[in-house]
């Protein structure tokens, strides 16, 4: 799975916008959107919000968790805990990236938020690597990780699976046959 595919999935998330045009309900396969009244907040999927934003047809209201104080709290908790803490949104990284890239003028303290989310992300990915490392070094058969987001799983999947395969091959070459088994003594 590509990161861009994960991002595509994230674009389904709903976000509040304040349109500056008026339009009746739009009937789409995925559900009805609108009606759009100028100045009245309305929930739309991210893809539409960004599209409208780029055409300067709306302002985006950042999600409630996209707030410096809340993110600071989250970051501190994430650093303190050994386990993964629950994230504000299953697509927090993607949403932050999308919204900050296209609508940073609608989000107060955009830079701080970017840094904070990056901090959270780094902490979590470090934890993930650490747990993968201990998983392998302790030769465990299975492990359970809670509160991981799709993007996080996606970053480690390719590498982890390949390396596990490799290791499996290496180990299986060593195991069978007593003649080869001697090699392990070196």
């Amino acid at each position: 799975m590509d990161p861009s595919e994960v991002e595509f999935l994230a674009e389904k998330e709903m976000v509040k916008i304040i349109p500056n045009f008026s339009l009746d309900k739009v009937y789409l396969i995925g559900g009805d959107l609108g009606p759009f009244n100028p100045g009245l907040p309305v929930d739309v999927p991210v893809w539409l919000a960004l599209n409208l934003k780029q055409r300067q047809k709306c302002r985006i209201v950042p999600p409630a968790w996209m707030d410096v104080e809340k993110l600071e709290e989250m970051r501190d908790l994430e650093r303190k805990e050994d386990m993964f803490t629950p994230v504000p949104s299953p697509y927090y990284m993607e949403l932050t990236k999308l919204l900050l890239n296209y609508a940073s003028d609608n989000i107060p303290k955009a830079d701080e938020i970017r840094t904070l989310v990056k901090d959270i992300w780094d902490t979590r990915v470090a934890k993930l690597r650490l747990s993968a490392d201990s998983f392998i070094s302790q030769m465990e058969a299975h492990a359970k990780l809670d509160n991981l987001t799709l993007m996080e799983i996606n970053t480690i999947r390719a590498f982890l699976l390949d390396s596990l395969n490799c290791m499996y091959k290496l180990r299986s070459n060593m195991q069978p046959g007593s003649s080869k088994g001697q090699l392990t003594d070196y």
Binding site: I18, N20, F21, G39, R59
Partner: protein, 1102 residues
Amino acid sequence: MPCERKPMRYDHSEGHTEVCFDDSGKFIVTCGNDGDVRIWESLDDDDPKFITVGEKAYSLALKKGKLVTASSNNTVQIHTFPDGDPDGILTRFTTHATHVAFNSSGSRVAAGSSDFMVKVVEVSDSSQQKTLRGHEAPVLSVTFDPKDDFLASASCDGSVVVWNIEEQTQVISWPLLQKTNDFSNAKSLCRLAWQPGTAKFLAVPVETKVHLYERGSWDHVSTLSDDLLTQPINVVAWSPCGKFLAAGSVGGSLNVWDVNSKLCVERQKHEKGFTVCSLAWHPSGSQIAYTDTEGCLGLLDGLSTSTSTTNTTKAPEKKPAEDYDALFDDDDDDRLMDEGLSDTNSPVKKPVAGDDDDDDDFLMPATGRVRNRGDKFGDDDDDTGSAVMPAAAPLVPLRPVYEGPLPSAPQKAFQPGSTPAHLTHRFMMWNSVGIVRGYNDEQDNAIDVEFHDTAVHHAMHLTNSLGHTMADLSQEAVLLACPSTDELASKLQCLHFSSWDTNKEWMVDLPKGEDARALCLGQGWVAVATSTLTLRLFSIGGLQREIFSLPGPVVCMVGHGEQLLIIYHRATGFDGEQALGVQLLQFGRRKRQLINGEPFPLSLKSYLSWLGFTAEGTPCYVDSEGVVRMLNRSLGNTWTPVCNTRETCKSKSDHYWVVGVHENPQQLRCIPCKGSRYPPTLPRPAVAILPFKLPLCQTTTEKGQMEEQLWRSVLFHNHYSFLSSSGYEIDEEGQSRSQKEQQELLMKMFALSCKLEREFRCVELAELMTQNVVTLAIRYASRSRRMALAQRLSEIALEKANQVQEEEPEEPEEEPEYSRRTSGNRRYQEEEEEQVEELGEEDDGQEMDTEEAAETRKRQFHLFSSASPERRTCFSGRMVKVMVEYLQMLGAGKPSASSGQPRVTNILDNMTSSKKSAPLRSAGKPNKDPVLKPLAPRTKTKTQSTLLQMTGTKASSKKTQANAEPAAEQQKQPDVPPPASPADNTENKRPKTGFQLWLEENRKTIIADHPDLEETDVIKEAMGRFRTLSAEDRLSWTERAKGQTGDAADLKKRKRAEGEEGGGGRDVENENGRAEADENSAKKKKSLDPTSKLSAFAFNKS
């Protein structure tokens, strides 16, 4: 001079502190770095009350129960004293204020700030403020001239400046101090002090000396000094009598000089030598409280000024005149050190002096009472020798005091949807069209206009060189106005962006002495209310139009379409109430006044906070208690509360700032404000939507909820009738939907009342229903066996039918046309090929008509409330039908029932026949001439079918069945068994088959053979027998059937005639009785179904 230095005690955390006494001298009030204001009953008070005012408190001032503090959030705030409730923010700076001071009467506050500015603010109205600019460094201290003309301030730039407050100009500036870069680095706080009372001298601490400057000439007339003083003086304070001056220095020295003699009468040293940063005299002059930079509080008690025992009353009178002379007059020197030194100016004598001294008179209202109080415990002090005050010293007013209701300050004029004018960044207008923001800070004085819908116009940025303070915004224009200044008249500026010519702007000067107070934009016009109680109308292009006088000072104005709503002060309100009046005018073709200066209802002790029209054009307003009221045009222009925004607030200090009201859909658009009444411009506030809720009783119960829904629905659909009466196009679909919704609610309530055994209430509800729904209600009542109720309801239904009939003659001539048109669709289906041309014409007609909104509306009206004659007959027919049903249920024994029956049957017969004629005709369609098709009968059938559709097909089909039954009842024949009648019916509908003919012939034999067979079994048996016939026989039957089809009706008639001939006699009567009984049971069975459906409609749907 005997003086006792009380031990210091810990007060605040270390840092700058300030101290003052309250007006009565009962409390010592301090503030400090910990952000608390502490209220000490005495120095020994171990549990002082405290008020938290911010993170840090830099300065405080207290007068007349108002505690003003400068806190770290860059504001100067007011708290009530001694309760400590926040009472608003007086002013803001870009950085924290360093010193605040009251004037002598307590009406104004001066505040100096680190941002180099000094502001003078009216306590009662923080929007009236004067800014004194000119210092080039943070301001150290400020003090008012007791006569309120001047203000002195000291600054870190080394200057001490005297300002003229009114002109906001510097009168004189002395470079006296050492320059520093910040308040915190200043060697001396240089707290200035102006001599109270006569205001003759301004005391300025300069290094180790105190300079006295004379008011008026601004000459340096004398210097107070003490040899023992080695450190710079931080703070000076005059005794309340103005005779002594106390000074506190950096090194902790406390000195008191007699100003006349320039001699130091008191020297004290701080017990630890900390810097004294604040000094305050007790109003009696007997004590001095001081605080140091380490946060400790100390007290000097028993100052000799208060221990005067002499009773000279003459001295004060001459004192003001002598004061200055006396200063240089050595005659007085001998008095200084002895006991009687303060005989002339003992503060305890002041009130007496005030009574006969004109010079002092102006001070009296503010300070007289207080000083009198001081007198009281001045005496006590001698006894107790401590600062403990008598707890309940009664007030002894000098003058008779008016104790009745007090007039409340009239509300200032405002623009609805704007935030207060004193803010540097504010909303000048937020309405349904867009947002106008005003910026007025150091760098920029500008106005931003932004439209919610960018299709209206792009955003605008204007420089606000004229200083506009009012704005309004519509789809056509931006309107701005500024108050007049000394040189410039009040101006009205209109940016008419929708103009099609190139000149998009016009400006008008109001006459001299006339200030714009409120303004609004309507459709094609502009209105401005001015300070001369005049209302001026302009066209949107700038033509002057009508001008008229207002009955009172305007509060605010709004326009919508052709309507103008004006709120003005009708009279003076008392005890916090506002006495407002309202005028609603309508322009357009017929100019008139809809509301003629009626009193304007507000919640108790509240003021108007928003005024506007709903998007549909109904006036609406919000008061400071958060109650939203809307005009109810159907109830004689009364105001109905529709929402209380405070109910949805989480905290007491939260408010909703309303920006718009919509009736359809029902939305109250507002901005939630946490802890304030209005939103800040940044971050950009988001609009929220609140629902409406009429404040009816018991809305937690089902009944209350439905009542609320019903009346809300009624109220919020009033605009339809208004819009249509003023000639606007309306959304008929929405209107009919709302009517349906209301009727549904009524029916639900009816069902609920029935369930609760409230039959009287049911009747009341029925009176609100339309005739259609009443019939439903009757059915519901009869099904639930409430005979008395059903009877009453039928009376109501008849009444309603009569009413409808009376209304009918108004527009009779339109009906045929209408019905023909509505039947168009049906004909389209039936006669597609033949009628193409004709239909084309009719369709055109329909299109044209939809353009003519009014006419269409009338038609709509017909459909739903009034009735064409055909419909009416049908109605009454149905109604009677319902009555019959229920009479039958009452039992056949009732004579009235049987007597009523024949007539009823007649009507019903007519109906049945007319109904039957329709299918017959359509069946025989190909035979008819398509062009010469008769209009009237067709109309009739069509109208009926519309009606039937409206009430549901169930009802109509049931009716046919039911109609057939009474008919059959009369026509029962002994020789034709009852099951024959359904066969008769089918006969009418389609041509008979051969089998049916055969069956008729042979039925009797079959029944004779198998008397116990049911009808279906009879037919089965017959089918079997028919099949056993030979092919030729069957064919011949079929032939016969074909031949007979044409005169099936004849056949039926003949049969009936036969039956009637054979009728009569006992057998018939018996049969009739049996049939009736059967019917009743059948009806009961049948009744189950519609009732259950109806109850499902009534309860499940809710």
